[in-house]
Symmetry: C2
Subunit: 398 residues, 2 copies
């Protein structure tokens, strides 16, 4: 009855959101979500910041500037400085989560058929956004050190990937693999971007969540050391994983020419993000609460991660392969000889959820892979989740 | 250095937002904004609802369903019932303001070059959204009774406007004209939509703000009486003008096939709107606060409107023409023989702002027109604003 645009003729949405329908089932333990643990929200301090923000109710209730509340921009600039990046006001805009940052960027840059390089496996909502923008997705493999930059170099040299406009990566504690791009590869990647004239989209929601190992500077930070590097990087930050997703506070750092256009795109996309939650976030950061809160959630996620990995080793040794992540929220697992979508059916019956690997591939999916998140479940649930997974594995390989 | 998509090669944004830079000037009185008066926000009750929402902090801080918090959907369904429209859950989605509702709708429906009918003059952000989606804009004139449906009929019959996909209108207290589409024209419009197979986009942020005259049912309400009418109407509602824009609560009522696709588009656009402000809005509506608040703001806007019109009559009689609006936020004015963009230069020097009419036209702008908003300024500023406008007019016609 209605004639929809090509990307919306089909009604396939996020494969992860599809799993949400099982979340409500009694007794279900979810290792599927990409969201932080509700138990770890800094409720008291956020309440304090909410009260502080409300001291100027009109600021919380009126329209806000499209590029974000100035006081929150100020705090994000300070935060970026701690991440080794000096940001000017015209290089920064705030968005309704960093998901919106990607959406706006694609709208101002990507025409149907434009080539976009994406690490593979990759965050499904990115793949979905690229498909909806009708980009030509070109995948680049990853290994234990993140994006395979050597392979990328060969692809660019041979011209097999055409002239890509941008490359999307989560270089630190990637979703879904948990891998971190080495410093050497970051530098090589920036040099490639300068040489071949594409933009690196550095999505960095997890970078602060390091449990172990040495800090690796953001691509955007390293870009300052390479001629022409800075303007080749678009950086997405977010408070969703380190404070709370419900604030819907993300940000884009990019060349002013790009930011200006993204702001114009945002004028028609939603005019402005909710000023009250922006004001809460601004106060929370200004009070230094994040610095107090971060060690607490890092310790908690680390405990959960260790426990999950220990339990997988203990209960599923030999059945699956994975690397212990150094941070973030995810363990990427391969179950040799098993299709993880079939495994999921058994897992749901055993009341445990995960995301089948297929969701993270644009092509040539590794069907035996799957993503486990240790962030969402309570620590007391993790052993049980591993047991259920073990039972599901047994049933799947019968 | 960067190759932007066609709609973003130019950096022209909202002409209204352009005026924002003058807002901070000391002593400036603005009749330019389309925003409600900050003085009229129901701060105490909203504070009460904020406290109530916070009783479940995890709900406020975690990701929310993409189509909106169920409790707010429930309240919006009740509100729509009061507006004469029965809405099922799958016909409704919540958005980050109704601006996002339009953006998502255009993304799922409008291909570059698709014909879209727009009343003229029209809300500039709608024109901007249509341009960014590369729609082929076809304007339909309005008169004192809103959209000229007779003219539209002729346009459709003659085929001069091609086969339009949708028609955008603010049928009640239009932005910028303040006009309300008569009941007869609404019925005729729905019949045209059914006959010619286009969608009516009914944008209704001001409908509750009636000062005088008889209530006219929403187009979506009347559509229920016409065979095939209901699925031809997409309705946008919003709390921005009746509660507070900062909540960023808007909603879309449409056929489930349309809503489903808009929800998928929202997954990549911003995943979800801020749940805290949704929860505040849900409590505010559930407590019946809106019903208490509405008469108060209607009375206040009515007083401001009357005063502005009286002052225009007293201080600018003969120099300008306008119709007293029956509700909403705007007075649409023509100043014979004056270009309102030039008038604005004088007005800014006199410390009063308005929006030149040009901003509301996609073609054949009436340069002598301008929009005055009586909602934003304090009542004590309105007489002075009219005096300054009178001085500016004098200077412009010297």
């Amino acid at each position: 009855m209605f004639e929809f645009t090509a990307p919306f003729r089909e009604t396939s949405g996020s494969p992860i959101r599809e799993l949400f329908k099982y979340l409500g089932e009694p007794g279900m333990i979810s290792l599927a979500g990409g969201y932080p643990s509700s138990d770890l929200f800094d409720v008291e301090r956020l309440q304090q910041s909410a009260a502080a923000a409300w001291r100027e109710p009109a600021r919380c209730l009126q329209y806000a500037p499209t590029d974000g509340l100035p006081e929150l921009k100020h705090e994000v600039m300070r935060l970026m400085q701690q991440r080794g990046v000096d940001v000017a006001a015209d290089q920064l805009m705030l968005t309704t989560g960093s998901q919106q940052g990607l959406d706006l960027l694609l709208r101002v840059l990507i025409n149907p058929g434009d080539g976009v390089l994406v690490e593979q496996p990759a965050y499904p909502a990115t793949l979905q956004a690229l498909r909806k923008q009708q980009a030509r997705i070109v995948t680049v493999p990853v290994d234990a050190d993140g994006l395979d930059v050597e392979r990328l170099t060969a692809m660019l040299e041979s011209g097999e990937c055409g002239k890509p406009k941008l490359l999307y990566t989560v270089p630190t504690f990637a979703n879904p693999t948990g891998a971190t791009l080495s410093r050497e590869r970051r530098v090589a990647l920036i040099e490639l971007a300068v040489k071949y004239g594409f933009l690196i989209v550095e999505d960095d929601p997890y970078g602060d969540l390091r449990f172990t190992g040495e800090h690796v500077p953001a691509v955007r930070a390293l870009a300052g050391q390479i001629d022409g590097g800075v303007e080749r990087v678009v950086y997405f930050g977010s408070l969703s994983k380190i404070v709370a997703p419900g604030l819907r506070v993300g940000w884009t750092v990019a060349h002013p020419d790009i930011v200006r256009r993204c702001v114009i795109a945002k004028q028609t996309a939603d005019l402005c993000s909710a000023p009250y939650t922006q004001a809460i976030a601004a106060d929370y950061l200004a009070q230094g609460f994040l610095a107090v809160h971060l060690p607490r959630i890092i310790a908690a996620y680390r405990r959960k991660c260790d426990l999950l990995c220990d339990e997988l080793d203990a209960q599923l040794a030999g059945r699956l392969q994975f690397q212990r992540p150094h941070g973030g929220m995810f363990v990427w697992v391969r179950v040799e000889g098993v299709d993880s979508s079939e495994l999921l059916t058994h897992a749901i019956a055993q009341k445990v959820l995960f995301v089948p690997g297929r969701a993270f591939y644009a092509d040539q999916a590794d069907a035996s892979s799957l993503r486990l998140s240790f962030a969402g479940p309570g620590i007391e649930e993790i052993g049980e989740a591993a047991s259920r997974l073990a039972r599901a594995c047994k049933l799947a390989t019968l």
